[in-house]
Amino acid sequence: PSMIGRPKNSPNAVFQPQHEFKCHIGEELHQFPFRYDEFKPIISCGIVQDWDEMIILLEYCLKKVPKFDMQEGKYTRRVVLNEPLLNPIKNKQKWFEILFEYFEFHSLVPQVQPLAALYASGRTTGLVLDVGEDCTQILPVYDGYALSNVMNKMRSWGGRVGGGDLTKFVANLKYESGWEFSNSGREISKKIKERLAYVAPNYWKEVELNAESSQLSRTFELPDKTTITIDDLRFKCGEVLFRPSEFLGVDYVDGGIDDLLINTLLKSPIDCRNDFSNNIVLCGGTALMPGFKERLELEVQSRILPPHLPTPKVNVIQQVESSYLSWIGGAIIGSLGLTTHYIFSREGYMESGVDINRPYSLNLS
C-alpha cells in the first residue's frame, strides 16, 4: 500500500526536519512494532496529495526493482506514467517535474490507466471499469479512441468507492461489535475482505438465508489464534459497492457501481452500446471479488432493456490478471520502442519546458 509511517517517538525528532526521519513504507509498516503517527494517504483517488512523500515512496520502489541501478538507469530508462482519468494538468506537470528534474529519467510516456488496461485485455473497443483502492473509474473506448465527450456529459466520472472503503467498512463493523484492531487492524480487515467477502446475486435473499441458517458463516483466525465468526459481513461487504450511500453514509451520493456502469452505457452513442455491453472489461483487485461479475451482468441485463439496447447481450470480462491489468498495459506500451505516440524526452523538456499537449516525440530519434 502507498503509505508511509513515522515512529511517534523518534529520538532526534527535535533536531531534524520531518522528512529526514526514519520511516517505514508499505508492507514494512506491519513488520515493525512501532507506534506510528497517523497514516496520511499519499495518493487519493489516484491523485497525488503529498509530493515530498511521493518522492520517498518512489525512491523506495526503485530500490526494489531487480537489476536496476539508480545512477546508471536513470539516464537510460523510459518511464510509463499510468495516470488516472481526469488527472488535473497541474498535477501532470508536477509529475514531469519530478521524473525529469529530480529522477532524471530518459523519457516519459503518459498513458491513461483504463486505456492501458483495455489494450492489455487484447481489445480496442470496450467499456473499462476500474475498481481501484480508493476510487472507481469508467471509460468507454471505441476503436482505440476514448469517448471523452461521453465523460463530459456525465455528472460524475467515477464513483468514490474503492477497495479501501470496503476494508474500512469491515474494520468499522468489527469495531462496533467489540473487536478492536489496533495498528495491524487494517491488515486484518483486509484479509477478512479478501478471503471471505463476496457479492450476492440478490442481497435480500442472502439476508433471509443468513437469518434462517448458519451456512453462510465462516470462521476467521486472528493472529493471536482466537477465531471469530463472520456471517452477514461477508455479503454486506460486497454490497457496499452497489449501495455505498446506505452503508457508508450520505456523502457517497454518486450511487453504486452498477448505476455508474448503466449511466455510462446510456450516455454512449446508440450504435456503440451493443459493443460496449459486450466488452465490459474489469480491472482492479476488488473486481476479482467472487460474484462481482455475475451481479454486474445481472444488473445490466435486467435494467437496460429495449429501446436503449435492442438485444441486451452482456459480457463482463474478469481475468486472473485483472488486479494489475493496467500495469500490464503500461508495461506493454513501454516496451513498444519508439513508435508509441506521446513520448516526452528529457532533452526536449529541459530545452523548452513542458507543453503537455504538444509532445516532442517527433524530435526523438
Binding site: 482519468l85 481526469l86 483495455l118 485485455s121 480496442t124 482505440g144 479512441y145 468499522n172 450520505v250 499537449n357
Partner: protein
Amino acid sequence: MKLVSPLMKKSINQSLLPHLEIHLRCAKNLPAMDIGGKSDGFVVFSIGNESVKSTVVEANLNPVWSDRMLLGIPNGDKLTSFDQLVLKVQVFDKDLLTKNDLISEFTLSFKEFKSEGLPLEKIVSLPGTECQKKNSTLDFSITCQNFNQIANANKPIIANHYQVIMEKKIEAIQAKFEDSNIQFIGSREDIQQRIEAAKKEDAWFKCGNKVGLSPGLEIWRIEKFKVVPVPKETYGQFYDGDSYIILHTYKKENALYWNIHFWLGLNTSIDEMGVAAYKTVELDDLLGGSPVEFREVQGNESDEFLALFPKGIRILSGGMETGFRNVKPEEYEPRLLQVKGKKNIKVTEVPLLFSSLNQGDCFLLDAGLKLLLWEGSSCSNMERFKVNQLAQSIQSERGEKPVLIIAKDKASSNTSELTFLYSLLKGDEKDIKTALEGGNDEEKQSAKLSKPVVYKLSDSSGKMEFTKMQGNFIFSDLKSQDAFIVDAGYKVFTWIGKGSSQNERKYANDFAVTYLRNNGKSLRTQISRVSEGNETSTFLEVFNI
C-alpha cells in the same frame, strides 16, 4: 408475516429510516362483495406513492390477520415536519378476474402520532353506506419509528468517521474536465500526433509506400513487441500461440475501404494481445481513422474474416515466445546428473536420491536457477574437468544465469542454499556410497551407455522408418539425407541432415518422444534440435569431438 414497503426494501439500514410499523389484527362484519356472500379482504396503507399491502384472507367476513407491516415515509430524511402528511387506509375485496372492489377508505392525520415508540391502538368503524349498515370495524395499531430524525433533519443519518476521508476525496475529485489530462483526446492535434507516431513504425511501409494502397490482404504477426510481416505463402495459417493483424483493402466505386482484423490465438500471451490491439489502432490512425476494426478470437471468427480465406484457415499449435521475461524457477523439475568415466566420460541422469551419489564420481544437481556441483572425495581430474565444463554450458544456455555452488564434501554444506539443494534429494546422507561401491570408471566405460544410442529416421523407401544403428557409430556416419535421434543419456538430440525430407524434419521430435516413452525414460528429458553444420558443442562432445 412481515411486509415491507418498496422504500424500506431499498434501504439497508431499515432501523434508521423514519417509518411506521403497523400491526393489522382483524376486521369485523365486512359487507359481502362476492356472489357467495363472502369477501376476500385485504388492506392497503399508503402515504403518497409509498404503500404496503396486507395478505389476503379468503372468503371471510370477519378476517383475522397477523401482519406486521413497515411503511417507509417518502423523503422521510428530508422532511422538517410531518404535519402535511396523511396516512390513507383502504380496505379491498380481492377479485380474481375483475378489478378489486373497494370496500371502504379513510385517512388518518399524523397529528395523532405524537409519541414515538408507543403504539397507537385504533379500532375504526369503517365509513361508507354498506359498512355503516353492517357496523363494520377495523382493528390495528401503529407505531412511529425514528421520527426524531425528522426533527433533526439537517444532521446526517449516520454519524460516521468517514467524513474526514470523504472531504479529502471530494477535494481530490473536483478536477474539471476542461483542465484535465483527457480534454485533448480526440482533438485534431491528438489525431495528428497519432498519425505521426504511426509513421514511425516500419512495418506499415513496404518499399517506402504506405500499406493498404491497393486492394488485397496483408498479414503481420506480433513477435516480441514487434510487428513482423508474414510471408505471402503462409497466409491462412495461424499459430494458436500468436496474435496477428490482418489488413483487408478493397475497392468500391473507385474508393478504397479497409477492414483491420486482429486475430488472437487461444494460447497467445498477454503482451502479444496487447501489442496487437495497440498496433491495430495505430494502423487505423495511419489510414485516417476510417478502417473498421474487428477483434477475432480463435474459434469465434467473424464471417467477414473467414470470407478472406476462401481455402479456409489452418490453425497450428505453437508460436512465438512471450516478450515478457519468463523465468519460473519454482516450476523447474530438478535433475541429478552423474559424470563418470576415465577416457570417455559419460553424463547420465540418475534418480534424485542420496544413494545415487558416490565418492568416486562427480555430480551436478540442476535446480533451474541453482546448480550444485558435488565432487566425490576420490573423483578423477577428468571427471572434475568435465563436470565444470557441463556446468558452464548449462549456465550459458539459460537466459538468467544460474548460481553455481561447489560442494567438495558435506562439511561445507552449512549455508542455507546448500540445505535447499540437499532438500531436493531423497533419503539420508549416510546413503552416499563409497568410490568402490560406485564402480570402476573403466567398467562404466565398457558398459553399453558409454556409446550414444543412435536411431535413424528415414522415409527414402516411401515409408517412415525408425531403425536403431548397430555397431560403433561415429560422427561421420550421420548422413545428410536423413534425420537421426541421438540419446546421450542425460539428453536427447535430434540431428537434422541438410538433405532430409520435410516429413523427417517434422516428425523427428515426435519420434524422439516415442523413443523416450518406449524405453521407459523420463518424458521430461530434454530434447534438443541440432541441424547439420550447426552442431552445438554439447552435441559434438557426445561423439568425443
